[in-house]
């Protein structure tokens, strides 16, 4: 089963790469059909990605969410899923052109990690693992989308009216609103992640909050997005300031995920 997963994973990487190129061609050639084809190909990639994760789960005999490789591929899956939902729901293929490289980078990071399947250490043998990590995947995916939307917002004013960009990127108000929706989804799931993590930590380590760097940076991320939400409510701050915070928030997400493990090891060092 793990061999099948390996093959599927390679296929998924290739498909995501091709779909990313197609998105670029769509933007460069300004042909809608190519944009639709890119989204369709990414959807196929997502289906195979789902199959790869299922195979990994069956092969490992547990949820595939316990080491750097598994979390990275699941993170890419979450971002791809949330990105596609937003592409289809808001008829917004240009979003794909910005999200696809991020997906490809993350799955590329996964490919560089060890794929070895090891038995779970006692602290990880918990039903909370599934809730904690799957909610983190959705949260991170949603924040990834809000990051792309924040960037688009910041560049929207440079898009001349009537141009391809202006036609395919919603106006600022809508970008702000879609970005807000994306942050809402992410924040709700991040809260769930922190809450389930705290309940699990209490059972495994005897303390529901220990100021471990991963916990602390999850809180930092949560606080950044809380500031984002309050900024949007304040008159005059909606839009640009909120978009900057959406971008900064995702930098925190990436730091929480990769930076903390690299620079600030703690009790989460396996994650």
């Amino acid at each position: 089963m793990l061999k099948v997963e390996n093959t599927l994973f390679t296929m998924v990487m290739i498909i995501y790469f091709v779909s990313m190129i197609l998105y670029f061609v769509f933007v460069a050639a300004k042909k809608e059909k190519i944009g639709k084809a890119a989204a369709l190909l990414q959807t196929c990639g997502l289906v195979l990605h789902t199959a790869a994760l299922v195979c990994r789960g069956i092969g490992a005999g547990r949820l595939p969410m316990t080491n750097q490789y598994e979390f990275a591929t699941s993170f890419a899956w979450g971002l791809s899923l949330v990105g596609l939902i937003f592409v289809y729901k808001f008829r917004f293929p240009v979003l794909g052109a910005f999200a696809a490289p991020v997906v490809f980078l993350i799955i590329g990071y996964a490919a560089m990690q060890s794929k070895e399947v090891k038995g779970l250490m006692p602290a990880l043998q918990s039903n909370w693992l599934g809730f904690h990590v799957s909610t983190a995947i959705i949260a991170y995916g949603a924040f990834g989308v809000s990051f792309v939307l924040g960037l688009l917002f910041l560049f929207r004013s440079r898009m001349t009216e009537g141009s391809f960009w202006a036609q395919h990127v919603p106006e600022k108000e809508k970008l702000d609103l879609i970005g807000y929706r994306s942050v809402c989804l992410g924040l709700l799931f991040l809260t769930f992640t922190i809450l389930t993590g705290a309940i699990w930590a209490e059972r495994a380590w005897g303390s529901y909050w220990s100021w471990d760097p991963k916990e602390t940076w999850s809180l930092v991320t949560w606080l950044i997005y809380a500031v984002y939400l309050h900024l949007r409510i304040r008159r005059g701050w909606r839009g640009r300031a909120a978009a900057i915070f959406a971008v900064v928030g995702f930098v925190c997400v990436i730091f929480t995920y990769i930076g903390v493990n690299t620079f600030l090891p703690g009790i989460h060092s396996y994650a």
Partner: protein
């Protein structure tokens, strides 16, 4: 002046400043190693930076007076914000769902000249509209998701409870640690209880990795060891047990061994010691410490592994020497005494904890989740339609949080409904 301070304390601007400061403090604390000795900071950083870190409490930042102060201000801000908003919120909630509410509702989208408002009501998934009259003309009014009005309020209340529960828990919780091997009954220092470690096993997989640490424990009354106070329980990592008002956790493990000291063939001292325990040799200034256990220290003639016990000898607490005793051998340097380590085993570290406020923190967390869900996914909406004298309808929608997306959907529905 007081009014101004009061207003500022409950303002969103103050909330944003506090959130940013707390964010910065939390991030900073993750980069500065916490809880080290003062000397460590002076050895690691420049004297000026070390003095700043120690002087401002950044060496124990998460318990520093100023972070506690910021958190206190945040709590005050949340409390004031919730208290001040409550009457207005109650009024809005009571009004929501009544046609009178539309007068104060901000208009998000509006269209006139429709033959029928029903497709707009249906397309926006509104409940069956109330039929009434306004200014002598037929009015249809529908509202939904008024519970969403409470989202931010519930979320703030949840965060407040979370902070209060966590802070009270940190201040009042009691934590005890018991270190021992199976068969030992050990006092829980600082309590009236003793903990019996009835059994302890390290379950290994085929590849020698640890699958689980499993302990069987009994909680006794210290003054009456025959009296089992809290009962017996099996605990393992991720599966604590509640006994006698304590939550008991299987925390961690380490190596232990039996240390036997004899003289002229007569055993004078025989005890289990854990790694790092410094054991005094009877009434002499000599003491021994088991440093590590090496399962494959050497090979026997038949190729089987021979374990070894690395130990250190101290005289008057000063390090004297370090060596390894093979399994079955004895420790040198101690003549006329004969000493040896044997029976390698695991000791377990068991943690007992009492935190009466964790329930409040949990309730706070759940309320925060609920509040966020209400705020994000139950957007209060109102749609009303007023019939004009010519029989056509003017339909108006109010959904401040839906903004442009609500307006787009509204306009789509209006377009589908051919105007008269």
């Amino acid at each position: 002046m007081l009014k101004k301070i009061w207003k500022f304390l409950s303002s969103m601007r103050f909330a944003i400043i506090l959130l940013l400061l707390v964010t910065l403090a939390c991030a900073l604390g993750s980069f500065i190693p916490q809880g080290q000795e003062t000397e460590w900071y002076f050895e690691t950083y420049s004297p000026r930076l070390a003095a700043l870190i120690v002087g401002t409490g950044m060496d124990d930042l998460y318990h520093s007076w100023w972070l506690l102060g910021l958190t206190g201000f945040l709590c005050a801000n949340l409390l004031l914000c919730n208290l001040l908003r409550l009457p207005q919120l109650l009024r809005r909630y009571r009004l929501a769902g009544t046609p009178a509410q539309r007068r104060s509702a901000p208009v998000t989208a509006s269209a006139s000249g429709l033959a029928s408002p029903d497709p707009v009501f249906a397309g926006l998934h509104m409940p069956k509209p109330i039929e009434t009259t306004a200014e002598g003309r037929p009015l249809r009014y529908a509202a939904k998701n008024r519970a969403g009005l409470w989202g931010a309020w519930v979320c703030h209340l949840g965060i407040l409870l979370l902070i209060v529960g966590f802070t009270l828990g940190q201040m009042s919780h009691r934590e005890y640690t018991v270190v021992g091997v199976p068969g030992q009954n050990l006092p829980v220092e600082g309590t009236d209880y003793a903990l019996g470690i009835d059994d302890f096993q390290v379950l290994l997989r085929e590849d020698d990795t640890v699958e689980q640490y499993l302990a069987q424990v009994t909680l006794y009354d210290l003054s009456d060891p025959a009296h089992v106070t809290g009962g017996q329980a099996e605990i393992s990592v991720n599966h604590p047990a509640d006994l006698g008002g304590f939550r008991i956790y299987q925390n961690t493990v380490g190596r232990a061994a039996r240390l036997t000291i004899a003289k002229d063939g007569q055993v004078l001292q025989d005890q289990i010691c854990c790694l790092g325990d410094q054991i005094s040799l009877l009434r002499t200034p000599v003491s021994l410490t088991l440093q590590s256990y090496v399962p494959d220290y050497d090979r026997a003639e038949d190729g089987s592994p021979v374990a070894g016990y690395a130990y250190a000898v101290y005289i008057n607490d000063e390090f004297y020497t370090m060596d390894v005793q093979p399994e079955g051998g004895s420790i040198g340097y101690l003549a006329p005494y004969e000493a040896s380590y044997s029976e390698p085993q695991y000791y377990t570290i068991i943690q007992l904890k009492r935190d009466r406020f964790s329930g409040i923190a949990l309730a706070g967390g759940l309320l925060t989740m609920l509040g966020l869900f209400l705020a994000f996914y139950l957007q209060p909406k109102q749609v009303w339609a007023l019939q004009a004298e010519d029989g056509t309808w003017t339909v108006t929608g109010s959904c401040p949080k839906g903004g442009a997306l609500f307006r787009d959907r509204f306009e789509e529905l209006v377009k589908e409904e051919s105007p008269c």
